[in-house]
Symmetry: C2
Subunit: 335 residues, 2 copies
Amino acid sequence: MADIARIAGVSRATVSRALNGSKLLSPETRERIVELARSMNYSINVAAQNLRLKQNRTIAVIVPFDPSTRQHLSDPFFLSLIGSIADALTARGLEMLLSRADVSELETATQCVDAGRASGIVLIGQWHLHDHLNELARRAVPFVVWGARMADQAYATVGGDNSRGGELATAHLLRSGAKRVVFLGDTGLPEIAERFEGYRRAHERAGIKPVARLRRDTPFVQASIIADVEDLVNSGARFDAIFAASDLMAMTAISTLRRLGRGVPDDILVVGYDDIPLASFFHPALSTVRQPIESAGEQLVESLLEQLAGNAPASRQLVTELIVRESSVVASRTA
Amino acid sequence: MADIARIAGVSRATVSRALNGSKLLSPETRERIVELARSMNYSINVAAQNLRLKQNRTIAVIVPFDPSTRQHLSDPFFLSLIGSIADALTARGLEMLLSRADVSELETATQCVDAGRASGIVLIGQWHLHDHLNELARRAVPFVVWGARMADQAYATVGGDNSRGGELATAHLLRSGAKRVVFLGDTGLPEIAERFEGYRRAHERAGIKPVARLRRDTPFVQASIIADVEDLVNSGARFDAIFAASDLMAMTAISTLRRLGRGVPDDILVVGYDDIPLASFFHPALSTVRQPIESAGEQLVESLLEQLAGNAPASRQLVTELIVRESSVVASRTA
DNA sequence: TTGAAAGCGCTAACAT
DNA sequence: ATGTTAGCGCTTTCAA
């Protein structure tokens, strides 16, 4: 900038004003300086500008990972969610700082904000962090989390109505004639726990007692899903349907069942969760509980911006609907 | 930091030294200051630090989008690639700035670097930008692109051997008895063009003349894929195999074929490209050309870091292998 | 071992 | 309409 000022024969202040479109300059000077800057391929140093302005147009998006599984970022739903947030942020001219963090050292995450790297945080998934998160909220760090709404939460969440989703899926299965529905998913996670609560409620309303051993606390790891389904089949457990906590789980389960000689939906009905883009192209087309991925990004960002504008953290719940396709329909259309 | 200095009864310089682990302090003073800083929940302001140090630990990852289709970030392969890059960056203690940019205004992308936001760029996909990219390279902006190696490129690319991949897939199809292989993919993109070149070469080597009208310049848009496959079937075009430029395309095609009464692999053989995680769980399990997604992120980052260290841009090619599963094998194991 | 002072690139009072 | 000056939060000579 100093260079530009020198070459243009003006002060740095004038250059700054020109570049920021101030009204206090003669249009021709401004024009001339802007032109010069462009020709020199100059752009304002954002770090310095932010330092001076104490502002910041970047949002940190943090994907926690469990140090024990240490699995890579791979679930298509979370990946799509990131894409959706990126779109929402880009649309608003905000930048996105993406990082992964060990859940056990969530404190590090906060640093983004404390260190002035970002002005707010979007946390993908609340995992087992509920208490930590409440504490974080007390420290007035602006953040939203994708997850389940909890009774005593001091922070904002955006997510579907998991308990309703679980109930819709299970009720549909029960209505289709299933009597023994497997639940696949780690109920240690709040979202999944709520889906299980829906599962339980659907049984209650249908007057059917759920079979305890058909509840599997399967983590989001391919190998575990396969192992659990194999165990279910090989142990001779009787079941006629599966409600899986994610589409990826459902697809893995279907594929495993098929390998073991069980057909879906002919022998076993299956419903997944999320409605990832591939769900409708799967065979059989996957019945699932839809989480509106595009609006998810929008809502997360909106909720965060509200907080940044000084409002109290407000949670948002997204519409949750059952999408019935082939995997849960008995007289399957496809041969 | 001034606060800490005051409370600790030392100068800001001392605090700075303590926090950076300088050897010039007595261990106990350092200890005391570090402790105090922690208790105050203080972290160094990175913007200021970077400004002063003229350094920068962040890398911009840019996903170009075509303003005409304006489609959201959704292809599982690209999404996984982003995940992979995020992992590689995190492992090296680097930060990732993710953004989308209109291909027509790639200049804006450069700003990340010019403005000191990031010290290098990873570009996901080279699209139609080859010439722009060469020019960019001449301006000595450190960047790598995920894509095809071109004859006259002045910049670094990381990618598979697309031409070999195309040949492997096509040769496999031809060897399996296919005579009329559809090519699905937009050859306007360098990567796809190379895959098509492999398709051509495989035919040549097999002494089979490819059927011109079976080449479809299908863009990466769900609706177009479906439309093209429908057209293929309805127009009465004869074909017995499809080589699709991505797994998503292949899956969409298979699903569409099935809807129209054509079975895969019984009536039509299909091979995809990428080997996304879901490919093996698809039904029929998808034969495909594997792009090693985990090492992709690693290599992109390594290549960029090399440039940042002052070396000339060097491209890297990843191993490309054919994975034969069920969708291209005639006597399918599954009923 | 510590402090004083200068300066990274920018903006905004304040002065002219 | 433009320039002068101070200062954002940090690091680092240089001096003590």
